[in-house]
């Protein structure tokens, strides 16, 4: 599987390209000269101390935040003020949030079918059938008729993943998907994400789960103060023999 992925990657164009991208919140320079390419089917894990701009980076990729300088090209589409382009990119990227952000007034089923019906114009039958398949994939088909408030955190996050997948995106963005979960629920969500990674989904994952990074990531990047300080395959990253950038070393010492 891994080898196959490598081949596909080698022959393909990057699916996400950031070139010298900069972003400010007022006077605060959050993202500095970010240059990054992500290949199709690649799993990229982003780590770094709190406030280093990890969330902002992946939120720029689907235009939840606007970058002010440089270029972002997603799936061959340039991200600019063109609303048509933004809509197209959002159709191709799914996002999973730390706080789940499920719609509390809709059932699990309606949460999942809403966007495919409204945005992709699927018939309800098709959308519900697809939703059931996805619920089975995240192993909670029996929760379809419940409301989000009636589910545990882990179940809610799995619904959120199913909801994002229902749009059949080419890219999935995860912003600390397990940080709001109790320890015993973290595994069930990580398992779903592992399975998704194996199936060939392009994934950008902000996480503090180093086990997940080591096992699943194709590449890890370390961010600090709005910069990509270091990047490399997880073997290198977590190997004790490699000499790291001092900031990376400090962070790894704290977290491992």
């Amino acid at each position: 599987m891994q080898e196959l992925n490598q081949q596909v990657m080698a022959s393909d164009e990057p699916i996400i390209i950031c070139r010298e991208m900069n972003k400010w919140f007022g006077d605060f320079h959050v993202l500095r000269n970010i240059t990054l390419e992500v290949m199709p089917q690649e799993v990229l894990v982003i780590i770094g101390p709190s406030g280093s701009g990890k969330s902002t980076l992946i939120r720029c990729i689907n235009r939840l935040e606007e970058h002010q300088d440089g270029r972002i090209v997603v799936n061959g589409i340039e991200l600019s003020h063109d609303v048509q382009n933004i809509a197209e990119i959002r159709r191709e990227t799914g996002m999973v949030f730390q706080q789940f952000n499920l719609f509390p007034h809709l059932t699990v089923m309606d949460n999942i079918t809403l966007a495919p019906m409204k945005v992709r114009h699927w018939a309800r039958d098709k959308a519900e059938q697809r939703a059931m398949e996805l619920l089975e994939r995240v192993e909670i088909p029996e929760q379809a008729c419940k409301y989000p408030g009636q589910l545990s955190g882990g179940q809610q996050q799995r619904v959120a993943i199913a909801r994002a997948l229902a749009m059949e995106p080419r890219i999935m963005l995860f912003d600390e998907p397990t940080s709001a979960l109790d320890p015993e629920m973290i595994k069930e969500v990580l398992d779903v994400m592992k399975e998704l990674a194996l199936s060939g989904m392009t994934m950008l994952v902000v996480t503090h789960e180093m086990g997940f990074a080591r096992e699943v990531a194709d590449r890890v990047i370390f961010m600090d103060m709005g910069r990509i300080v270091e990047e490399g395959p997880p073997e290198n990253f977590f190997s004790p023999d490699i000499v790291h950038h001092p900031r990376t070393q400090e962070f790894l010492d704290q977290i491992l």
Partner: protein, 510 residues
């Protein structure tokens, strides 16, 4: 610790000794006893109060009864329609009740619309709009409503012209309008709208549409006549505004109204059926259909069709009318209409229109209104005071309701690619309304109860009228009781309505 606690208990684990038998330590029974005692006290107090009041009233020969309501009222009421001082007290009471309802009903609708608008402005990204609406809210909700009602009253009294110099809309006179050009302009806009409909870039599409509409509208507004010639049209004012209040045109249902209503109702039924059908199609095939637009078109079509069909009704070939010299002559309906000799009854009977338009007219001295709807300065003051005061509170409720929807909900909607409209309709509104509706109901109740401040500007609402009735008849207890019941009725109706609406939105959660 644990041991020292268990020390107080007997070694065998049975509960400690107690003075009361078990039955008097049962929480449910204790609650029951408390309630019985409470009810008993209330009944005793009320009973005592009633006996005292009765004795006091009997000693002055005013024991409460409802028979006095049948007596002649003997006082006039402004804003009273067909009521006269020869009618009974009960009629006066009814007039007051209707006047209260007039203020409350229209007031609720107006304050809701205004409040929602200002509430949305409070959240606007436009600095000016946001600041102005914030100032509006702060000034209005921090000053007493009684003062505001007075302020509106004095604005009407002092700022508006005498009746003889009323503001009139539209200005009376004959003006020449290029009707051909108007029709053509409309057509051009429709064509551009349709032609740009398939454009891929919304920014360009909207740009082209806005620019072309602006150009066409501006050309027409500037009086540029490029196509055809002007048609002279006589304008008669439909609205007069003066120190005596506002006079507005009337639309009176004619003999054709009922038949036309059949068209309207059928149109509504067809529109609903179409909307349901298109929704079904969208659900089964996924194909998006602008069903609301089609339904509205169907409804408008039927309404218009009815109007046109009614226009084809034959009118009597001859009709007896009084000519200028006061003699009865017979002439064709249309001739009689042209020469203005028809009585209103005849017009209503034989017209080809379901609704007759009657502009407001003043009597010969220019003092009183003969036809049309008259709105008194008192009504305006109470209406504006209540509506604008309450709208400030509603604006805050709406703002809070929208802000109560977490940012994450918007982010999730955007990340899924939902359009702005879908996000507002399907995600934000259902969640905001849950928060908005209960306090909104409170504001509705406040408005209805505050309407009793009408007495300050002598608007003849139920409280003002009943006050007069009490002063004249001495029936204070009965009078107050009736006002109380009237307000209670209004409040209960509002509560009932709001509860029904509330249930609909609460059910959606869990």
């Amino acid at each position: 610790m644990l041991e020292s606690q268990s020390m107080e208990r007997p070694a065998d684990g049975s509960p400690p000794e107690n003075l009361l038998p078990a039955i008097f330590r049962d929480g449910r029974i204790l609650q029951g006893i408390a309630q019985i005692i409470f009810v008993a006290i209330v009944v005793l107090v009320l009973n005592n109060l009633q006996t005292r009041i009765n004795t006091a009233l009997e000693s002055t020969n005013q024991s409460p009864n409802f028979e006095f309501l049948q007596n002649r009222a003997g006082f006039d009421i402004a804003d009273s329609g067909s009521y006269s001082s020869n009618d009974r007290y009960i009629d006066a009471f009814r007039v007051g009740f209707i006047n209260t309802i007039r203020v409350v009903l229209f007031g609720l609708v107006a304050t809701t619309v205004l409040g929602i608008m200002v509430g949305i402005f409070l959240l606007s990204r436009n600095f000016l709009l946001r600041t102005i609406s914030r100032a509006y809210v702060e000034v209005l909700r921090n000053t007493p409503i009684l003062l505001q009602i007075f302020a509106w009253f004095f604005i009407v009294i002092f700022a508006l012209p005498q009746q003889q110099q009323s503001f009139a809309f539209p200005q009376e006179g004959i003006r020449s309008l290029p009707l051909m050009q108007y029709a053509l302009s409309l057509f051009v806009i429709l064509v551009i709208w349709q032609a740009t409909g398939s454009m891929r870039r919304p920014a360009w599409r909207n740009g082209i549409r806005q620019v072309s509409v602006a150009v066409v509208v501006l050309a027409n507004l500037l009086g540029l006549v490029l196509v055809g010639t002007g048609t002279p049209i006589e304008f008669r004012p439909g609205i007069y505004i003066s120190i005596k209040g506002v006079a507005v045109f009337e639309l009176i249902p004619s003999s054709l109204f009922a038949v036309w209503m059949v068209f309207v109702v059928v149109g509504a039924v067809v529109a609903i059926a179409m909307s349901r059908y298109f929704q079904f199609i969208t659900e089964t095939t996924g194909k998006p259909i602008p069903r609301t637009r089609y339904a509205l078109l169907a409804f408008a079509g039927f309404t218009l069709l009815g109007w046109l069909v009614m226009g084809m009704r034959p009118t009597p070939s001859v009709i007896p009318v009084l000519d200028e010299s006061g003699e009865v002559v017979e002439m064709p309906y249309d001739d009689a209409f042209e020469s203005g000799l028809l009585t209103i009854e005849q017009e209503l009977e034989y017209t080809r229109q379901p609704l007759l338009y009657r502009p407001p007219t003043l009597d010969r001295r220019g003092r009183n209104i003969e036809t049309g709807i008259e709105i008194s300065p008192s009504y305006l003051a109470v209406f504006l005071g209540l509506v604008i005061y309450t709208s400030a509170f509603i604006a805050e409720i709406v703002r809070a309701g929208i802000q109560a929807v977490p940012r994450g909900q918007l982010e999730a909607s955007r990340a899924l690619g939902l359009s702005q409209g879908d996000m507002l309709r399907l995600i934000i509104l259902p969640q905001a309304l849950r928060v908005i509706i209960p306090p909104l109901g409170n504001q509705f109740l406040n408005l209805s109860k505050n309407s009793s401040l009408a007495i300050a500007v002598s608007y003849t609402d139920i409280y003002q009228v009943t006050n007069t009735i009490i002063n004249q008849s001495g029936q204070s207890v009965t009078g107050i009781l009736m006002v109380l019941l009237a307000y209670l009725l209004i409040s209960l109706l509002i509560s009932l309505g709001m509860n029904l609406v509330n249930q609909r939105f609460q059910l959606v959660t869990r």
